[in-house]
Amino acid sequence: MTATVAVVGASLAGLSAARALRARSYDGRVVVIGDEVHAPYDRPPLSKEFLAGTYSLEDLVLGTAADEALDLDWRLGTAAVGLDRATRSVRLADGSEVRADGVVLATGARARRLPGTEGLAGVHVLRSLDDAVALRADLLAAGHLVVIGAGFIGAEVASTARALGLDVTVVETQPVPLAGPLGARMGGVCAELHADHGTRLLAGTGVARLVGRTRVEAVELADGRRLPADVVVVGIGAVPNVEWLAGSGVTLEAGVRTDARCATNVPGVVAVGDCASAWSPDAGRAVRVEHWTHALEQPTTAVATLLGTDPGTRPTVPYFWSEQYGRRIQFAGTRRDGDDVRVVEGSCADRSFLAVYERDGQPVAVLGVDQPRLFTRWRRQLRSAEPATPLTA
């Protein structure tokens, strides 16, 4: 039995890891290190209810009364700046050091920024609570919003801003938004929600530069068009927070590289959530999953690996959801280009449907728009159909 576990990153994956340690009767010291000053909070509402003003700060809190009993040693407001693999010590920005027998890396990801826009007022990214507070304040005083990137976060911000009464334009480099996660056909269907609700979508268009001296005034497109903007939100993906591990000997490869059981190449060090690129037997390669349910569930496996016990979890299929313009979008499974898509319930035109993705005649993924009941049944079916693939890389 080890005496101290250090959890680096105090958000969903970190908190879930701490809970999983105690659930497995780990009775050593658990130190949770987080660079944000806030106690763990939930990120999905930051682009939805919190940005809309219907959720309070309190609604975002992830911790519960039951967590008090976990007896965690919190180090909030201090970044980890290094890891020494020989002694498994985590060095903190305040000069202190946490010596641990086991380390859980859960430092997540940060929003990618548009180069050259630092210091220009009115330009936002959305990842943290502080980002959301600043963006909401700016949106309430604005008339024209331009969102760069029509991924999930960009689309959700556009949707929330429309509901707040702004004039919204979304600019997307790819010809079809969300083609990566949903495939071109269903990406196109979901993108139609923008037009339904009066948001202008300019797809297949690059951004040349942002115009403005101290505050943004317009977005200039690659084709020369200028879109007036009081506020710009850049939603062009996220980069894993792993730079602090450089030189530690932990293998970094589009995130912290782990096997299917969350083990890194360094004994006693596991990685979870958005910062981790875990071997996926299903995909046949390492995948960095950036979804809520994954960050919630994966630490159970990581903690079992750390403690040397059997993970004992049933297989799950990847799952994420989004909410746009009041529509509930849910997706489960693993999609690849070339999969066939079939609408099995409802219709795309009604914006309420269930689509099944098939490969070699077998269902591999499912997309639901405003079909929670049916979607849940399909998600379950995919889960029970998971083949018993070997877990090692």
């Binding site: 809520w292 849910q330 929670p372 009941r373 849940t376």
Partner: protein
Amino acid sequence: MVPVCPTSALPPGEAIRVTDGVPAPIAVFNVDGEFLAIDDTCTHQDASLADGWLEGCEVECPLHASCFDLRTGMPSGPPAKAPVRTHPVTVVDGTVHVQVGGAAEGAA
């Protein structure tokens, strides 16, 4: 007591949402022949738990997958933090009845 449906209309593994005659929607489940009722609306957001997935004596919310114990109303894990209320169910002459806001309030 609010009549819900004939027992034959609610086979094992199924759920029904009750909206008439109740202050807030209630979900009634048939768990292997035993009828159990809870508030239908998830305490996290406004999903209908009657749309969820029944497994053993728990229902998994169709949106973000918190599981609620049908006997106690307690969520087993995030994102839901608060319990749903539970409601006593009786069968009278082959009809399922639910008693709203009865003795079996959600365990705290």
